[in-house]
């Protein structure tokens, strides 16, 4: 019997687990995929929203503003990349000014600080590459950018260090109410738990509906993105949104916290919870709409594209807390944008509810900080020299595009909840995220993973089982 089972090791599940790790709970996180951060959390805009988008009074509005305020301190405690770069919402037509004004007022009501509407001249001064068609903008200096993998992995590692048990490759198949809580059946056996937290992203309705008669319905809403080379990472320095127009909701153009340029997402409802494929129409749409925000959008600099699924609940707001007919079962469902921003606040908000339901003492030996993997690419000359002196493997470059060394990859593999897949290494170190997209480094990384995990190279996969790279030895299939 455990105290709490968390279903899903995305940013929401990890934030909750880390919050609960501060108390004397026995917490187990169940994750279907081979790593944390494998679903919605890995394919999104990486934006820390200021908080003017959501309707006042909603959970989205409340947790957004709180999450935004928490992010900076958290990034220092847990050592993940975050930058408060500010955001802009562009207005392209004087007729749309009332919409901009409404957004401004909504922001004020939600408690967003330093918000103001700026005119074209100031806008062009702030962002010289902004389209000449923009007439004004809502400027929110509080907006930021974060590494979604960095944030999720940091939360997960810190939770793990504080005793949370992460079970990967473990898929929940059924949940049943019992006398003292819930029986959670997985592909690796059954767990009894007093409390279940449903942070299952696009699958959250499935689990909720297993225990409650108040049915919910999650619609996977696909968003496609194009990521551009670091050469054009400074094309804009703030996150640039568009006011919704008659042409649609609009896409954002933003620098990423690692210095690339990102454009997207589209918004298309799909039925398949696994449909993370990009489409020709979607990618063309992203590039076309991005070009509305900025002049001479560098579409030729795309280095990769990807798609993610938002867990959109049809009523529109987050669903957080216990359904009336299922005490001890806590939803964190419908967590779409601004879910990444909200995660730290959401974790705290839900932990408070759980403490009321199942009181527990604060853990005396909770370790509140975590050190990330030192990055040679980001280190200055002295720090580089020091890292190499401590570990010469920091001088052995594996990924030349992002300057990732064997030392960093070894660290990613051997730290708590370490990487076991190529994507796991990639998301922890950035090896393979550069302009050659792992052309040169993937065989080397596969070799290091095999060596360090004491496996054959053929057992090393991109991510989940079935995604192994190698199919055999030369001449295996030649008939004698």
């Amino acid at each position: 019997m455990v105290d709490v089972v968390v279903i899903g090791a995305g940013v929401t599940g990890c934030a909750i687990a880390r919050e609960l790790a501060k108390y004397e709970y026995k917490v187990t996180v169940l994750e279907r995929a081979s790593d944390v951060c494998e679903g919605t959390s890995k394919a999104n805009s990486g934006i820390v929203h200021a908080g003017y988008d959501a309707h006042p009074g909603t959970l989205k509005a409340k947790l957004n503003v709180e999450g935004n305020r928490m992010m900076e301190a958290l990034s220092e405690e847990l050592d993940f990349p975050f930058k408060r770069n500010g955001s802009l919402v562009l207005c392209f037509d004087d007729e749309d000014r009332p919409k901009l004004q409404k957004l401004y007022e909504q922001g004020l009501e939600n408690g967003v600080k330093e918000l103001r509407i700026i005119e074209k001249d100031e806008l062009k001064q702030l962002e010289p590459n902004i389209s000449d068609n923009a007439v004004a903008a809502l400027y929110a200096p509080a907006g930021g950018i974060v590494c979604p993998f960095g944030l999720t992995v940091a939360l997960a590692e810190n939770a793990a260090v504080n005793g949370v048990d992460f079970r990967l490759n473990t898929e929940v198949q059924n949940i049943e109410k019992t006398n003292g809580g819930y029986r959670v059946a997985t592909n690796h056996g059954v767990l009894e738990s007093r409390v279940v937290i449903n942070a299952a992203g696009v699958y959250a309705d499935r689990f909720h509906n297993m225990v409650s008669e108040e049915k919910i319905h999650i619609i996977p809403r696909k968003g496609e993105y194009c990521l551009m080379d670091k050469k054009v990472g400074g094309f804009v320095s703030r996150t640039v949104f568009q006011l919704p127009t008659i042409y649609g909701k609009g896409v954002l153009v933003t620098p990423t916290v690692h210095g690339n340029l990102l454009a997207g997402p589209t918004a298309v409802d799909v039925e398949d919870c696994e449909a993370v494929n990009t489409t020709r129409e979607g990618l063309d749409d992203v590039l076309k709409r991005a070009a509305l925000s900025v002049s001479h959008f560098p579409a030729g600099q795309v280095i990769t594209s990807f798609a993610g699924l938002r867990a959109h609940e049809e009523k529109g707001d987050f669903i957080i807390g216990q359904p009336e007919d299922a005490p001890g079962f806590f939803d964190a469902a419908g967590i779409e944008s601004p879910g990444l921003t909200c995660a730290p606040a959401l974790g705290r908000y839900l932990a408070k509810q759980i403490l009321e339901y199942l009181p527990a003492q604060a853990k005396k030996d909770f370790i509140g900080t975590r050190k990330g993997i030192p990055s040679m690419a980001l280190a200055g000359p002295e720090e580089r020299a020091k890292l190499i002196e401590e570990n010469p493997l920091y001088a052995n470059v594996v990924c030349r595009c992002e300057l990732v060394t064997e030392g960093e990859i070894m660290d990613a593999i051997h730290r708590p909840l370490g990487a076991t897949t190529l994507d796991g290494v990639k998301r922890r170190t950035r090896a393979g995220m550069g302009r050659c997209q792992a052309g040169f480094c993937s065989p080397k990384t596969v070799e290091i993973l095999a060596r360090e995990l004491d496996r054959d190279m053929a057992e090393i996969s991109k991510n989940d089982p079935g995604s192994e790279f190698l199919t055999g030895y030369d001449k295996d299939d030649i008939e004698e």
């Binding site: 696994e274 190499i388 997209q437 065989p443 790279f469 199919t471 055999g472 030895y473 030369d474 299939d477």
Partner: protein, 427 residues
């Protein structure tokens, strides 16, 4: 550490450049190689066909590299392996111009070499799926042809069993044959353009001889499979290279190899601020293969993507020689750089300019054409007057072409203003 000459890259270009520089009297030199061995990408090119021009025999890639490595070792040229150049910058003090080459490796850590001259020989990389922006899922089983070549030829491992290849660049064609010989089924090669980007001999020897179809004017429009590639969808493209709806065909396979062009790796050149040629994506160089930064030379695939390694070696030897001349004070300042204009089907030339006084007696100028031309002529004009015209049965983008400029002839031209290289079709 101080050095007269640092050569960045120990592949075919770096090796030939170092040998030539040493033979021209540069003793204080160093090759910096990021990989664990010298020879660069030749090490994984185990097929033959290398060296026909240079050695008049057919060598494999490692054998070709071996000849240069032996020569280099016999000349006692120093080199560092597993050593990455992490920064390249300039330091100018009174009358002196030094290049700062910051390197790191496991044994020596991080340090900066002060060099009087640098030869850029970093090679190129393959265009990735991301850069091609092919839609679909992102499963395992999508490799650049060179990555697959490394697995098969260096590790003895197969990256797949049923293969579709997009792009008919030479590495893709070579890998179609290699994968077949190692037991995989190569279903087809799809090529976006109406012509192949590879050498004719490779199409014959790697596809035709094995009955592998080459589908020109086709591209991949979708990739299926969540964990591993399960199929790709190919479609015919129109004259604007856009897929034609209704021509889609799903091909079951577990592997997609990409051979869709090579991109010179000029991140270091760019960090130094070297002027680039937007067509080649390599530095713009004059007849001495010198960039717009004094004492910085470039050769091989970092300069422009070659078709044959023999030409890389030849070009690199010239860079080594010219760097030596620079170090010995024998390379005059370029004062009369005459631009070589690439027009009418000629995409670029390397070098991009020539100084008749500085040049050697014979200067080879290499270039590629932008389309397939039949029964056309390569025409060279000086100051608008045609000075030579050479007929060719076929000119194709996959093959590098060349013209030769002679010092004696250029020196005779009064008021030399410009040289033009063009394709003439009505011959």
């Amino acid at each position: 550490m101080k050095k007269d000459l640092v050569i960045i890259g120990g592949g075919p270009a770096g090796l030939a450049a170092a040998i030539a520089a040493k033979e021209a009297g540069v003793d204080d030199l160093l090759i910096v190689e990021r990989d664990a061995r010298l020879g660069g990408i030749l090490n994984q090119c185990i097929h033959n066909g290398f060296g026909l021009h240079t050695f008049k025999e057919e060598l494999t890639g490692p054998e070709y590299a071996g000849r240069y490595i032996d020569k280099m070792l016999s000349l006692d040229i120093p080199y560092k392996l597993n050593t990455m150049v992490v920064d390249l910058s300039e330091k100018r003090t009174e009358g002196e111009n030094r290049k700062l080459v910051t390197v790191m490796n496991r044994e020596e850590g991080l340090y900066t070499i002060e060099a009087r001259a640098v030869i850029l020989a970093m090679g190129c990389r393959e265009r990735s799926r991301g850069a091609l922006n092919i839609p679909g899922y992102r499963p395992a089983g999508i490799y650049s042809a060179g990555t697959a070549q490394r697995y098969v030829n260096m590790e003895g491992r197969m990256p797949g069993k049923e293969v579709v290849i997009l792009g008919s660049g030479d590495i893709g064609l070579i890998m179609a044959r290699r994968m077949t010989l190692e037991g995989a089924k190569v279903k087809l090669v799809a090529e976006l353009m109406p012509y192949s980007g590879g050498l004719k001999r490779n199409i014959v020897q790697c596809l035709d001889d094995f009955g592998i179809p080459l589908k020109l004017s086709h591209t991949v429009v979708d990739i299926k499979g969540k964990e591993r590639v399960e199929a790709v969808v190919i479609a015919r493209v129109d004259e604007h290279l856009k897929p034609i709806p209704g021509t889609e065909e799903e091909i079951k396979c577990d592997t997609l190899l990409l051979s869709c062009g090579l991109i010179p790796e000029n991140e270091l050149s760019e960090s130094l601020g070297v002027e680039m040629n937007p067509v080649t994506k390599g530095p713009r160089v004059n007849e001495s293969l010198e960039t717009d930064r004094e004492g910085v030379f470039a050769c091989g695939n970092v300069l422009h993507v070659h078709d044959l390694v023999d030409y890389v070696s030849e070009e690199a030897a010239q860079a080594g020689k010219r760097a030596a001349a620079y170090l010995h004070g024998a390379l005059k300042k370029a004062e009369k750089e005459i631009p070589i204009k690439a027009v009418n089907g000629v995409r670029y030339t390397v070098p991009a300019s020539v100084d008749a006084e500085r040049m050697e007696n014979v200067q080879v100028v290499r270039f590629r054409v932008g389309n397939v031309y039949r029964d056309a002529a390569i025409e060279v004009s000086v100051n608008g007057r045609v000075v030579s015209s050479r007929k060719k049965k076929v000119l194709a983008p996959g093959e590098m072409e060349q013209i030769v400029l002679k010092k004696t002839e250029l020196e005779q031209v009064e008021n030399l203003q410009e040289i033009t290289v063009a394709i003439r079709q009505d011959v």
